[in-house]
Symmetry: C2
Subunit: 412 residues, 2 copies
């Protein structure tokens, strides 16, 4: 029974339907969390879940759970899902694949009239991307008790709009408690967002762990002044110092090959006028590595560099440790269930470490968790050209189905 196949064309059709909501000219998707487009996407997803016979609940942070009942009323649900929100210039698969593959699992079980012991729940987690409201992986973080719900509801976007107000506005401020039910286990199918599976010619990545991450917010304060008559020697140019920090972040990333990643993704210059020496710059740093000690080394290096910049240039540099989670190994049994699924279907597969954070990382702290990766074209993600093949999406979904059934049938 575990080797029944999902409906590949139905899955693809659902992915393409969802991709129409917020579709961009370059073939990508812009469906930022808690916007009108996010609401439209959520509404479509909820309708599909109800059509598949699921009971839908929404919790206080807007996470959506669509439950397919199990035979055993005492069993906790096997959960599977991901997120529907995208980056500002995102693609059609990041997150969406994991949610709609979980829906396809339920539809397939319906097609074959399979009754499972444990209930199955499709999850859509609020604001995984973290581009509009920080931090990322917010809904799953609240669900797992990592974040305080009141603090999260009070978060504001760059225009000062409050997250809690946006939840109410789009109709997804639910009444289910955020920690009201515990998963038996959790599975998430996702595109790799990196080049390894494609380079190695594998269809399935059996994700054994997620890299550790450290995020920083850095504010550089110099002195704004007229770009013409202010001699170079008297300047405190915040952008010159910030640019040196960007260079150092990049050097640190290259200093720990092949696994270290180091990125400045966001920078805001003030007052940002052509003929004014920048008075302040705000920037973010994202460090990742599978080994926590290396991550600590990277942390020391950037902090030492920022201290040096202050000494050298007289600008002020404020470094805030914004977010840190150590490398996360996933559950052995869940990893095994994923690997068995790949073997059972005859897919080429390999073990892999996730470079990105995923909702699965937080779920892993409260329940046995596993992840499945499939290749994405040229390893490109968080980009409108992000692409994955119908064949690979279907393969990932078949492995998800296998793993979910393994857990839902497992003796409790």
């Amino acid at each position: 029974m575990k080797n029944i196949q999902i409906n590949s064309s139905r899955l693809w059709h659902s992915l393409m339907k969802m991709a129409e909501i917020g579709a961009t000219e370059k073939g990508g998707c812009r469906r930022l969390t808690l916007t009108d487009l996010d609401r439209t996407g959520r509404d479509l997803f909820v309708r599909w879940c109800e059509d598949a016979g699921c009971e839908v609940t929404v919790d206080i942070i807007g996470n959506i759970f669509a439950r397919r009942p199990g035979k055993d009323l005492n069993r906790m649900p096997v959960m599977a899902g991901s997120h529907l929100d995208t980056q500002p210039t995102g693609g059609r698969f990041d997150g969406v694949l994991g949610v709609l593959a979980a829906l396809e699992v339920v539809r397939t079980l319906n097609d074959h009239s399979v009754e499972t012991d444990a209930p199955i729940e499709i999850c859509c987690w609020t604001n995984e991307e973290g581009s509009r409201f920080s931090p990322a992986m917010m809904g799953s973080g609240v669900f797992a008790g990592i974040f305080d719900i009141d603090e999260i509801l009070a978060k504001e976007d760059i225009d000062g709009v409050r997250l809690g107000d946006e939840l109410v506005r789009i109709g997804y401020a639910g009444d289910a408690p955020v920690n009201g039910h515990k998963p038996e286990s959790y599975f998430e199918l996702h595109i790799e967002q990196g080049p390894i599976l494609e380079a190695e010619g594998n269809t399935i990545g059996v994700v054994t762990a997620a890299q550790g991450q450290r995020w920083y917010e850095i504010t550089v304060t110099g002195q704004e002044s007229h770009a013409g008559p202010t001699p170079m020697a008297r300047r405190k140019d915040a952008l010159v110092a910030a640019s040196a920090i960007v260079g150092e972040v990049n050097r640190i990333g290259h200093a720990y090959p092949p696994n270290a990643c180091a990125t400045v993704g966001f920078m805001q210059v003030s007052p940002n006028s052509r003929n004014v020496i920048p008075g302040s710059v705000f920037l973010t740093v994202d460090f990742r590595h599978p080994d926590n000690d290396t991550l600590s080394d990277m942390d020391s290096k950037i902090k030492a560099f920022c201290t040096q910049i202050v000494d050298d240039t007289g600008v002020e540099v404020d470094v805030v440790d914004f977010w840190h989670f150590p490398p996360t190994p996933f559950d052995e049994d869940c990893i095994a269930a994923v690997r068995e699924g790949a073997v059972a279907h005859g897919y080429d597969h390999m073990d892999i470490v996730s470079g990105a954070g995923h909702d699965a990382v937080y779920l892993n702290s409260i329940a046995p968790t596993g992840m499945i990766f499939i290749p994405c074209e040229d390893g490109i993600s968080h980009n409108e050209t992000e692409n994955a093949s119908p064949r690979d999406c279907a393969a990932g979904c078949n492995v998800l189905l296998h793993a979910v059934l393994e857990r839902a049938e497992k003796t409790a």
Copy 2:
């Protein structure tokens, strides 16, 4: 007669009244060109001019001329003025001083019932700052025939609002032709916006020339991708390349001491998300030097560096020569008139080269032109803390009065 004194407290009071329009918490001013606040400032200025008996006209680009008649109906007007618009986080004196000092000159002549041979015109030039609409020194540039009026009216701000529409909206799309009358001469009083007068203990800077300037717009195009799973070796990070350019601009500035200035004042990162490798960056470069050959060397250096960055990193770099004007010597007779004014009043003075561009630079191309500088505190300008003393403002205004009278009485 040329040594009559202006009314220092009236000048200061007018400056402080104007500073209330767009006043910021930090004591500065935010009165961006062609905004509602700019209209309020213009309206106040026009009322003051009419109260002083002047006839006010507005030309097609919104420049305001307030005319005090002369005895000789055939004489062209001696003009004096500057601008009322400010930087986004600007100060209370940059531009405003030159306009209100010219008004104070007229008020003083009224007080003493002085009739001049030539008429005197107070000028307020549209959009000198260039922060909302580029390029800077727009109104004086159109007046001097440097810019094409239709091209300028079609300029858009960052929100896509058209300059011509904003002129109409705030009621300053006048009907006077842009080159309808030629000045006999032009004088502009301005804060130095640099540290030299203060450091040397001088009250008056006799401005002999303005530095040459080269402005560039640079677009760096890399490839946006997920910051987690994209290995360092496979990245084309536009911000890393842009930051290297910022560093090089700064090095070029330091390579030609003491007069070279080199600034990146504006930078926009796309998509500007914490966990996305930046796909593109737009930035501006501002080079200044009093010697044109040196400016050409600086030009060669930044272009060579950008070519090198392309070769080294694989990003694309597009460099646009956005604006260039060579170093501008002012008119010998006007310089002499300013110097004589400083001597006549017994002010400590020195010759100085303007680091900033000013409306006077464009006026200089169609009429004999001179400029007067006074110190500003710590040399800081384009900053909310920009400051000048009532005493120095009055001194500059007395010199302006002297120079204007010298020209208005001069045999035509």
